[in-house]
Symmetry: C2
Subunit: 464 residues, 2 copies
Amino acid sequence: MVDLAAEPRIVTAGVSLLDEALAAQAVAHLPVDWRPPLPGTDQELARVLGDPRRAAANAVAAERMLAAGATLVDVLPAAEVVGLRPGEFCHAGPPITWERASGPLRGALIGAMLFEGLAGSPDEASSLLAGGSVPIEPCHARGGVGPMAGVVSPSMWVFVLRDEAHDRTSWCTLNEGLGKVLRYGAYAPEVIDRLRWMSAVLGPALQAAVRRSGPIDVKAIIGQMVQMGDEGHNRNRAGTLMLLRDLLPHLVDAGLPSTDVAAVARLIGGNDHFFLNLVMPAAKLQTAAAANIPGATVVTTMARNGTDFGIQVSGTGDAWFTGPAGVPSGLFLGGYGPDDANPDIGDSAITETAGLGGFAMAGAPAIVRFVGGTVPDAVRTTSEMYEITVAENPAYALPVLEFRGAPTGIDVASVVRTGLLPQINTGIAGRVPGTGQVGAGLVQPPVECFTTALSALASAAPPM
Amino acid sequence: MVDLAAEPRIVTAGVSLLDEALAAQAVAHLPVDWRPPLPGTDQELARVLGDPRRAAANAVAAERMLAAGATLVDVLPAAEVVGLRPGEFCHAGPPITWERASGPLRGALIGAMLFEGLAGSPDEASSLLAGGSVPIEPCHARGGVGPMAGVVSPSMWVFVLRDEAHDRTSWCTLNEGLGKVLRYGAYAPEVIDRLRWMSAVLGPALQAAVRRSGPIDVKAIIGQMVQMGDEGHNRNRAGTLMLLRDLLPHLVDAGLPSTDVAAVARLIGGNDHFFLNLVMPAAKLQTAAAANIPGATVVTTMARNGTDFGIQVSGTGDAWFTGPAGVPSGLFLGGYGPDDANPDIGDSAITETAGLGGFAMAGAPAIVRFVGGTVPDAVRTTSEMYEITVAENPAYALPVLEFRGAPTGIDVASVVRTGLLPQINTGIAGRVPGTGQVGAGLVQPPVECFTTALSALASAAPPM
C-alpha cells in the first residue's frame, strides 16, 4: 500500500540529472549508487535473495565473525600443530597438482623438500614432486593459512592462535623477511639456511617469550594497527612494532643467549611484514567462525595457489568455487616489470575476507606508495566494500571514516547483484621458480568464483 | 593595466552567493576563503607586509626549517649538557617568577628540590623557592625544551640531539610515563623514587644503547610516524615503538643486567608518549634554525609556563611576546573536570611551531579520542594551518592529504591578517600542585602574542 497522505520519499539512482535537479530545488532525497547485476544471473540471484533463511543466516554469520577472538598462545613445529608427517606439505589456495602449479609454488615446494632433507638438489626435488608421490594439500584444509606460496613442512615452526569464543585453533608459519624467500618461490642455499635458523633459534625463542608472556591478544593489536596506518595485509608496520613491544621484555627475561635475543629483535624490527603472519590466522579464526551456516551467503575463504583463485562460502561448506587467478597490477621492485609477475598467489586474501587489507585501505593511505593507486582510490575502495559486506566491525574502527568499523563479511549475493568485486592488495611473486618477490599491487577475484558460488547457493535454496 | 582583450579571471570571497551563482552558470572562478584581519592592526600590518626584506627573509627561514636535521647522539645528565649547576633549574615557557608561577610549575619545582636533596620536605622546598634565592630560567634560554612544567635539574638525564646541517645541539628530559609525574606538578615520594631510578638506571641504559647504535635519525622516525597516525604531540605511539625497535637490540647487546633491560623495555613499551621527548628537541632544532633572520616574520617558539603564553619570532631575536595562557578544553581523566584544569603549560607547543601536533592532526584522526573534537575538525584544522604558514615540509608528508607536507613556519603577519590562530593540542595539568595530569585537549595562543609581535616587527621594519 502506498501512503499518499505522507510526504513522498524520493530515491534517486543512475545518472545524476534528477539528483542534481532535486538538490537545486532543496527537495529531500536519498541518492543511491545503483549498479546492474552481473549478466545472466537474474534467476539464480532471485532464488538466493528469496531464500527465507538468508537474512537470519547472514546475521548469525556476521555475529560470529565479530565475536571471534584471536590470541597467540604458542609457537610450535608444524608437525605438532598441523599434523603433517614427514614428506607431507601444505600450500596456499585451493587444491592443485604439481602439473598445474605455478612457478613460485613449485619453487617453494622444491625449497621445502631441500629444507626437509628429502632431496639433495632442486632437480631431484622437482623429479620427486613431478612423480606424484608427494602429498600436498591446502593449508585451509587443516585450519591454517600460508602467505604467498604458503608451503608448510613438518619442521617449520608456526604461530598457534586460539579463538576461545568458538573453541577453535588456527596457525600460520613464521615470516622469513623480504626478498629471496621461500614463500615467494625462492630456494637458493641462503633461503634454506634462513629456514634452518628459524627452526633452530627463532621458533624456540618466540615460544619461550610467548609462554612467559601468556596469551597475546592479536585481535586487540589489529584494532590498534588499523588506527596507525596499517591495513593488515601489505602494511603491518605498527602491528609488527606492537608485537615486538609485547614480546621483547619476555624474550629478554627468558634466559636465552643475548646474541640470539638481539638477532630475533633485529629480525622482527627489520621486517615490517612480520605481523602479517599473525593477522592471517586471526582473520582465519574470524571467518571460520562464520562457516557452515545453511542459507548464509557470506564468503569464509578467499585464497589463491598462483593458478586458481578459490572461495569458500558459509552456506556451501568446504566446496571451493574457483576461477583463473588474475595478475596483480601495481608497483614493481628494481628491474622487474609486469612480464615478470606470477598470477595472484597466497592465503593472505583471508585478510580481505575478514574486512582488512584492501577492505581497510581508507585507514592506510600510505599503502598506495607500496601497491599503487591514489589516496582517493584507497578511500573509495573501502567505501565500496561496504556495499558488498554484511557487517561493520567495531573492533577494527577506521578513524578517518569517523571510526566506522571495517566492512566485514563479503556477501556473494551482493557481489553478484552490484558487480562490485572484492578489492585485494597483495605482494607479487616472480613467475619463474626461484625468483622471489617482484612487486606489490592490486587485484580482484575472477567473477566466476562468485557466479558459480551463486549457482551452488541457488541449488541449495528451498524451492520458491 | 587591465587586459580587457583576455577572458577576465573571477575571484570570489566572503559569503558564497556570487560563488554559487557563477558555479551554476559554469563560469570559471577561484573561490578564496577571505577573513578580516585582527581589529586595530591595519597600519602595523601594512608596514610589516610592506617590509621589502620579508619575502626573502621568510624564504630563508622556511628553507632552514626544512633543511634542519635531528639525530639522537647521546643521553647525558643535564649538568653536563645544559650547564646547570647544583641549585639551578630550568622550566617551560617564557621567564616567570615563583610568585606568578602556577600550581603545576610550583609542584614540579618542589619535586625537583626534593630530588636534588636541596630540601627535606615540600614545605621547606616551597619556602626556599619563595625566598627568591633559587635561580630558575626557561629551557629555551639554554637551547632545550621541557614538556608541561618542563622543570630540569642538574641530576636529571636528557636526550642530546644534533642538527648537523646548522651545527646546533638541543636537549630534552626523559619521559616519566603518565599519571602522577613531576612534569604535571606531582611530587609525591613515588614521583621522586621514579626520578632516582631514571637517573640511576634508565639514563645510563639509554646512553649505552645510543652509543652502541650510533646516531638515531629522529627526523626520519617523525617522517614515518606521521604516516602512522601520530601527530607528534599527543600521539607518539608509532614513534615510541620505532625508537624501541631501534634501541632494543643495542640495549640487549650492552651487557646490562637483563632485569634492567626488561624494565627499560617495559617502561618505553608501556608509555605511548615516550617519544614526545625526542620530537620536541627535534622540533626545537628545526625552529631554532630559522631564528634571528632580520625581517622574517616566522614564529620560532611557542611556549607556556602555566601562567603566560609566549612566542619568539625570527626577526625579533630572543624577545618574548606574551599573553595570558588559556585553559584547554578537551577530555578529562577519571573524576576530573574543567574546574581542575591549569592554564596551558609546557614547551611542547614547539611541535606545532614546527608543523606537527595540532598542525598535523589530519594525519592522526584517532587523536580526537584523546583531545576531543571530531575527525572532520582535525582534518579542517590542518587545512586552515596552511593559511598561516610559509612552507610545507616534504619530510613530514601526510598520506591522507595525498602526501602534502605538514604546514610549517607560522607567519605572524598571516595570523594577524586572517585572525586564524595556531591550533595546539596538549595535555592538561591539574591546577593544584601535586595533582598530576587531569586530561588532554585543544587550546590556542592568546591574540596578544601576535599583535605585540607584529608591533615589534613593524618597529623594526625600514621606513615605508
